[in-house]
Symmetry: D2
Amino acid sequence: MTDTLIKVDLDTHASNNPQTHNRWHPDIPMACWVKPGDEFILETYDWTSGAIANNDDASDVRDVDLSTVHYLSGPVGVKGAETGDLLVVDLLDIGSLKGAEWGFNGFFSKQNGGGFLTEHFPHAQKSIWDFHGLFTDSRHVPGVSFAGLIHPGLIGCLPSQDLLDTWNKREADLIATNPERVPPLANPPAPHTAHMGALKGEARDKAANEGARTVPPREHGGNVDIKDLSRGSKIYFPVYVDGAGLSVGDLHFSQGDGEITFCGAIEMAGGWVHMKVDLIKDGMSKYGIKSPIFKPSPITPNYKDYLIFEGISVDESGEQHYLDVNVAYRQACLNAINYMTKFGYSPAQAHSILGVAPVQGHISGVVDIPNSCATLWLPQEIFDFDISPGADGPVKHIQGAVDMPIAYDK
Amino acid sequence: MTDTLIKVDLDTHASNNPQTHNRWHPDIPMACWVKPGDEFILETYDWTSGAIANNDDASDVRDVDLSTVHYLSGPVGVKGAETGDLLVVDLLDIGSLKGAEWGFNGFFSKQNGGGFLTEHFPHAQKSIWDFHGLFTDSRHVPGVSFAGLIHPGLIGCLPSQDLLDTWNKREADLIATNPERVPPLANPPAPHTAHMGALKGEARDKAANEGARTVPPREHGGNVDIKDLSRGSKIYFPVYVDGAGLSVGDLHFSQGDGEITFCGAIEMAGGWVHMKVDLIKDGMSKYGIKSPIFKPSPITPNYKDYLIFEGISVDESGEQHYLDVNVAYRQACLNAINYMTKFGYSPAQAHSILGVAPVQGHISGVVDIPNSCATLWLPQEIFDFDISPGADGPVKHIQGAVDMPIAYDK
Amino acid sequence: MTDTLIKVDLDTHASNNPQTHNRWHPDIPMACWVKPGDEFILETYDWTSGAIANNDDASDVRDVDLSTVHYLSGPVGVKGAETGDLLVVDLLDIGSLKGAEWGFNGFFSKQNGGGFLTEHFPHAQKSIWDFHGLFTDSRHVPGVSFAGLIHPGLIGCLPSQDLLDTWNKREADLIATNPERVPPLANPPAPHTAHMGALKGEARDKAANEGARTVPPREHGGNVDIKDLSRGSKIYFPVYVDGAGLSVGDLHFSQGDGEITFCGAIEMAGGWVHMKVDLIKDGMSKYGIKSPIFKPSPITPNYKDYLIFEGISVDESGEQHYLDVNVAYRQACLNAINYMTKFGYSPAQAHSILGVAPVQGHISGVVDIPNSCATLWLPQEIFDFDISPGADGPVKHIQGAVDMPIAYDK
Amino acid sequence: MTDTLIKVDLDTHASNNPQTHNRWHPDIPMACWVKPGDEFILETYDWTSGAIANNDDASDVRDVDLSTVHYLSGPVGVKGAETGDLLVVDLLDIGSLKGAEWGFNGFFSKQNGGGFLTEHFPHAQKSIWDFHGLFTDSRHVPGVSFAGLIHPGLIGCLPSQDLLDTWNKREADLIATNPERVPPLANPPAPHTAHMGALKGEARDKAANEGARTVPPREHGGNVDIKDLSRGSKIYFPVYVDGAGLSVGDLHFSQGDGEITFCGAIEMAGGWVHMKVDLIKDGMSKYGIKSPIFKPSPITPNYKDYLIFEGISVDESGEQHYLDVNVAYRQACLNAINYMTKFGYSPAQAHSILGVAPVQGHISGVVDIPNSCATLWLPQEIFDFDISPGADGPVKHIQGAVDMPIAYDK
């Protein structure tokens, strides 16, 4: 039986657990050690450590303190790992903790986090998703059910001090271009809510002052939110510190490409990751690798019957942007949401489906000036009814009896 | 036997063929008429009508006059089609003309067109790809062979005058922000090389003066360059003029997501499209559709064994961009190119593979400020050798005996 | 452009074409020669050379002279091929001859050929299938349409004299156990209708007297009727004579596992095969290969949404058979036919669908005495309507206005 | 959290657990009751209840008392279920019990059970497979590792007394044709080792005397050993008694089509099934269903890169059989085993791979007299090395340092 090296108690806040942390810093002590070839299990909190409840009230989403995220399990030290190696991680399996077979999805208020479509959905909303073995559905979003493409939203190794300094400098430079923006351009270190693992006292305070926030993905991986990094995949991480220092968290039961809802995918209330580690010595240089690469899982939901929406880089107001994939993907998303409303969904429900279902987002064209083209792939098999276009027009299968809870800004 | 409604002669320039055109304008006369339910075949030129030759000299790519593209077959009038309908197009099959079983791929000079990676590949280069039934390979890019995901790069219906005016205005506004830029931000009408189908005299001159260039994708579809719009797919196009006016061209034997090489996919030297049309009356309003939607083909290459590269929105110089998917995808592409060079490919060859193979580009994360995350999916099955990372490091399978022809700017 | 080495004229009977043959014999002269690495095209007749017409009368199926089949194109000699080699054949593409974009399927009369379900369908019936590019449908079987998994029903190399003698002996021994059986246990040589390619006179007569019929698959491949040997696949054939002598014919636009209807798959009225050959010297011994092996195509219809029927080896009368997969598969087929009739199909139409659609037949259990278990996999995507079971019971989508033509025995 | 309605203790023999049984009989009391729409979990023993140990000694396989199998969990009564209904069962998930993350595969002695290839492997052998999350490998069969297609080998509802009588009669009739055969043609009731759930005393003895053995699949499903009935699939079972009486057991971590090794698949040492039940009232008649039908899971290993072996119905001695799929599949299996030995596997190891890996067995041709054609599909991705044929011949990757333990008959 595989050892569980990090355990979590969902009734106690993650900040009390010295084997977890919510910032990136090379000084965070290893929470445990393993050898190349070892298999082990890490339990994880949800990314907010219990800030969002399984209820019908979205005020917790509205009021969440985003400076506290993400609570990660680790870092795991790997014996023999040195700077320049590649750490090979097999995600052998991922699951829910007993009694925590549910997850949440939501939209942040534009005043507190926002999201990809925050201009269209400026208020906090949420939906709760129940897990039924391999499948999930929601009391707030009827008519859909699908198999989970379970993955960690966040996984990566500790940065070196040099790399950390680079991150802090370049992000500070960006913030400085518009420091008052809401939502902000980036998040600087926030020492008051930093949880630096087992670090204590001055060492903790020093590290907390410069610890990088876990929000963005970076060269080490981190919060990449790649849905295809699912259980069964194999990842090759650059190693920046001796021992590597692998941390993981923010487990998602399912997510669409882009995690457009930001809060977030279907965020698992508590879970575990069964993994195995190995090393490719000096692999960064051998393979010219600066960012993680990976092979997808041989077991993923085989939804194939897509309905695909196009978007170009002309925004909702009709303004022409130059080869901007973000604008193009936003249009594809809005086109899909508008389409789904013809079958009875509220715009919020349709938006939520794009955030949580195994939706693909493709960069389809990036050279045909001035318009990029992006496509949003919606799997039709997840719906209980036929969502194809036909000569007779759409049938309103969803009757609007339920919607996603909303919490207006105070 | 299905009727061929438009024929092309590859020995004569497309501009002599009144059933083709290279601009979008509602005044272009229908080249032929069909009824809903009809099946028919249209032959097509390559997008440049023969400007690029099957040889080992890239000077034709360097010197191409891009104001002449793309030569499209059509417009096909559909009886009964009215503004607001959806035109349903089944791409029943697509193939090469006899004797034209080859295609080209290349990079434009930064001085004449550029491309997604033009800063890294500023000079004109090309590769020639031979078709072997369902498969293709290139004498300029050894070690890869793959099945074609054959599709039209460009397909769509005529715009109304209103829509055309909108296009011209918004693109002119963009150009006006930096009119001297090389490559330009967008392409204005270029009447001297406009081929307006069967239009003659003053009517031709008026239309040529305001005819929209075919380069960008727009609300009607057009040059979407979506690799998944392949033979076997079903597309729903908005109709903007009575008769719809469907045109098609720019056939690709295969392409990676993004068509990052710009010149372009594997551009088929001459081909044909077998299609069927039908109507959903008033479908735009019924389904809330402003841009085409489609269902992918049930027959596509099932390459599955991907190696996936991540990119974030920090550019090559280390500068931090705000949630910019273009920057992130560029990094993922550069990471993949760098990786492939370890197996012996020249950077240009690796770049070409990303442009022509059935590579996927996913918008993986768009909310984790300040970094977007994009992923580039490289199918390993297309290589003659094992391109996976392993403990022993890469084996240099490609010996560098051949490279892609290059033509430096004069 | 690839050379067409064997051409056929569908208006002239195959027996007049010296580059075709309908028996297996090492004395048949090579119809043409190629070298390892060569690509070439062979045109083919339908397996009966025009005996079945595109009309609504099944009497041609009833009256067909089965001693005449199958007309094959070849043999193609491969320079350097020797006994014991493996001939590697890439099926680069397969298609219809111009004007022959249709095929037939039918059931033979129990008095003249029979079939897998001949006790249930004892009379000759047929259906005609039209090809629409990659797709097919039938005026005799409404409600289904699907992409073709195009393949040769029959492909293989010439036997040596020794191997031929072995075949003739073992099949004669079987026939001798019940020589009066209708349908027969096997087909002995039938010299009067033998077409021995370019052989003439006495040499022809000698070979015709011992030429093996093309009906069964044997060690060399031959009439394997494996639907997955489709265009894009790569086959490794044992070589038994110098030059190999590769022949091909009996092209199928689509077929279900088992070809249960016998007459047959969707039998293409006329077609061509684009292929490439290579050699693995002494490959039979190196790899221990006695029968062909192959790799399936990377491009096949990706129908996935199966409804699966079980069958066990208890026959229709309730009799228990011992681990008999044939009985089990027959039950699975009958169960599927019965199910489909609830949606309005006639039993003959349902039977035809199992013969022609890309239906899978799996050997699911062969050790649980006394019952084998076989499964029949019916792809639901091929139907225009929902054929799933549900709480409300089946809806009769097929109204019975058309059925398959039948011709009773005279 | 979903309720576990049946628990098992792997340290106590199943015959002590009144919520399990090893015979089919309508008098077995329901072990628990659920309502349509309910979700629940059942734990299960391995099929032998611990007779085969995780060690390197095959004598337990040789000596197993096959009259004791299979220990099933159930029957579960479903409120409202009546004869003629369809019981809809969703297999929501399946997994291992904690501490039981391993399974066994083996061949029975020809003297005690035998198997599909018992003439070639007459002695008891076994291999142990360890589970690593979604994956498995074996210390006895090096060079392969694959994701599990986890499924119950055995699942079905209680028979009515009439149906039971039919089973007993027809199987007794078969045995009577050769009562001394080794292995036997079928297994009659064996009351001494019958475990009739909670039945006691005379009622137990009566039922034990006529309780059908669980070995064969029958009309109700039962021991179908269909690998595709995996977690995520949806099954429609005929209901023969009020309350339905659903039982499940014999969990397989993975299996090839046919379960040719008989002992068996990778037999899970202890597991659980998470399922949901529902009813289609009067569904048997509405849909004409006599045997279970099912829809496969949307999550299954996507191994695609098959090497396919053909077999025809001529046996190893050269004797011609008439359209016998069993003989044909046996040849395909032997051809594959022979091929694998060229890469260094022992025949037993190769045989084991066919029994446990997600190998497909297709009924490819059943009408081309006198030869059936069957195909064995071996997924190449499961091997650590390249098992494709090539010009240079096979490389012996497996060095023969380990083999499967064998136990000769005493």
